[in-house]
Amino acid sequence: MIAFRPEPPRHATWLLMLVLPRPSRDDILGDLLERFHHQAMRHGVSRARRWYAREAWRFLFSLSRERVRDVAHGPGRPRSELMNELKHDFRYAVRGMMARPAHTAAMIITMVLGIGATTAVFNVVNGVLLTSPAIPEPDRLVLVYEVDRRGTEIEDRNPVAAANFSDWRELNRSFTDMANFGMGFTRLTTPSGQERVETGWVSPSFFSVVGQPVAEGRPFTVDDGGGDAASVVILGHEYWQRRFGGDVAVVGSDMATTRGNATIVGIMPAGFAFLDRSPDIYYPWILSEQALQNRRSHGLTVAARLKPGISLAAAQADMDRVVAGLTPMYPEFLDGWGANVVTMEEVVVGAIRPALMLLLAAVGFLLLSAVVNLSNLLLMRGFAEHRGMVVRAALGAGRARLIRMRLFESGVLGLVGVVIGVPLAVIGTKALVGLAPNELPRVEHIGMDGRVLVFAAGITLITSVLAGLVPALRSAGGSLVATITESGRSLTGDSRQHRLHGVFTVTQLAFSLVLLVSAGLMMVTLKKLLTVETGYNPSGVATMKVSLPGGEYPGTLEQQQYFDRLLPLVQALPEVQHVGLTSWLPLLDFEGTWSVQIVGQPAWREGEKRDYGWHSVNAGYFQAMDMAIVRGRGFTDADRAGALPVVVVNEAFVDRFFPAGEDPLGQSMFVITSPDSTVRQIVGVVENVKHDALDAEYKASYYTPYTQAYTEPGGYWLGSMNLVVRTSGDPTMALRAVVNTVTPLDRNVLVSNRTTMADHVGNSVARERLAATLLNVFAGVALALALVGIYGVIAFVVMERRGEIGLRMALGAEPANEVRRFLKSGTRLIIGGTVIGLLGAMVFTKIQASLLYGVAAVDPVTYLVVGLGFVCLAMATTWLSARRASRVEPMEVLRGE
């Protein structure tokens, strides 16, 4: 009777055979087997198997650490002998590589591509996602938004009304403190001329929320807000260095700001950045008693620091509780509103993270593909050198030595790969950042640091070992006798070897198909985004933002007069066809929204969602953007103060307020939640535009002429406007001419965001373009590797079976039949690779779902087109390679045998 005996995991035994020093290998293996059986009886087979495997790995790590292997090779074996052996093996590996330059070049290129591409992508991921900002405990920093659930679309990152902020700050139990802040730019007049500086407006609690005390001086206090003029400022460290040479004595002295003279009370620490910005000058932002009563206008950005031990979910629950408590007290303001707690990390990198993770996964596939390719190449080389190895084995080279020699080769390759690949990765990183969206966060953190180098070294080591392992075991495997007999048998070749090549080829085909499908989906997305009906024509349009200093232009009237003077000057430039002016530029600005009332329709009640984008534009804006007037008319220069107040609405606005098909033209409307309650007549309907993003929904909005703006003293309605210039030629050329017109008119005016409308469009899809471009490159390289792989494997089999083919042809077989036979075995590999690849793609493309637009992750058309193209290419390659079979000369082969 045969008793059932459990067996330890085979891979573990195999690992032990590899690592245990020969003199004690047998007795240790015996001991482990004996203990394995004891464990199996006592604790069950599966636990014993786990134990055995764990101990085997421990041997691997301990022995390599202790170098016991060297010592244990027998007492008294001198170290220098081992060094000599290693040196010899190294030389052998290099010599072998030099002897086959083409083959070696192929391996080096594969290695360099794999390591370089992976390192470059990881470098970016490391800088953007893995580097912590220089803020104490950044993971406790959150931003708190309001959620507007009143409309059809939920807006979950709405700014906060001051009165709500004040209540939250008092009632929450989750935050150490909350702060409001804002970031912007301004132009300062300094003794050495004009300069553009980044500004931060922060409440006194800001410093404790970010957890960063000032380096010199004091933070702001609630007393700093008296009067309208900011009397104190805090300087950013870099600005302090740049302008004051790091002189501590400036603390306490005065400097001129756009808001008059202010005392410098503090300096921020070096390297401080918040939300990826580091302002040069901080102004105190103290909400007045009156502002703190306002629950209607939502305008504050709010940061908070979680108390230690409070999770994000707990804070969210706490804020839900706070809002639920407040809503019954102010139902007209708070019905349909909520609070949303988001980590600072999510705010900064949330948008780019999916694209970077996708690229990291994709480049991982590329690396695996490179590993398989290397394995395949090494395997072929191993085969070619079989006889050499046999002779060595016969001369007494140990099995371990033979394995080591093989691994040495892939190790040398890895070394070359890392030496060429890492500098290549540096260049690749630059290219990658260039392709990335303009607002790619934390760009300054991207650079080769220790972690990237360790990563590069790690993947090189893994690649070398993985690629070398199978060929190494193959070349050293089997008994000596079998090896010698095998090498004598050359008519039909070795079927095990073929199976391995087959597995490798199928794997490579599958990897490359996964990447191809992923790239295909991204291409479809990009195409859909770029052909989306935007409602305007971006080509040939130059844009820039013109911001007027508050001191010189204290009210809307002065601002209006400035543009009255500027626009004709720009219009007069020869290359300018139409000059437009708008308060909010699509894809650049958020729309300012106000609630509207159509005369004759039910009155607005507090809390009802009726706020839509209100744009101040000039008569030329619609022509400059090439937006079609669908009904009625656009604006003319006659629509001025004193004339009939007019408004143009868009199609979505008509759908919203005149759903029954009433004629909007001639109807009157006014804005409720603004000091400007002028009743205006609707004189035209303009087509919808994609304002926030190309993949956003159309939103209702309305346009009024800037010449009829509410001329409030102290109002800033027209303080910051976008010039939109349609040109006859290259818009980038026109930019300079326009700036040269704007600047002389008033040198204190700040011109920013000088670019073309096409750039705004391009930048808005930069994330998708980055993913699409890199996926295409990765997929292309993987495809090339796979095609070379299948070509090589068929060529290899043909070459090996030359004897057989020659014999058959000598006996009358048709050459075409021979080709067909090999084509058939190639087809099997291709079908296998395609099926596995398509299934793999279904899983892989799940991670890119959030990046897709207008196409599903499992889109049958893309899968079919890519799959078919792939099969055709692979078949063509196979045929090219299989054709060699028909060129076998029977007589030559038989003579050779």
Binding site: S24, I28, G30
Partner: protein
């Protein structure tokens, strides 16, 4: 050569002594595990045994295998004279340090 024994080496030597004629690798480790209630890495134990042998504190010889071991031989260890001397000296040192502290250190 190092003057004192490492703790682990010390334990292994004692286990070999305890087991007498039956001190082959697996038995030594099992003995250690049951007496010290520790999870002992097999690799660490064999490395320690190897070191002890190189230092001349133990000697080893191969014995017959069993079916349970797939017919592989057992390696039996014996504590050499030098090992006994080492054990005695470090044992004395420890006992001298313990003396007078029994009240404090021994579990009641």
């Amino acid at each position: 050569m190092r003057a004192t024994l490492g703790e682990f080496e010390h334990l292994i030597l004692l286990a070999v002594l305890h087991l007498g004629d039956d001190a082959y690798g697996a038995a030594v480790i099992e003995h250690l595990e049951s007496r010290t209630a520790r999870d002992i890495s097999q690799a660490a134990a064999y490395i320690a045994l190897k070191r002890l042998e190189e230092k001349g504190l133990v000697t080893s010889q191969l014995g017959a295998g069993t079916a349970e071991r797939g017919g592989r031989p057992r390696r039996y260890f014996t504590v050499a004279d030098e090992g006994l001397a080492k054990l005695r000296s470090s044992g004395t040192a420890i006992m001298q340090m313990w003396s007078g502290l029994e009240e404090l250190l021994e579990e009641r």
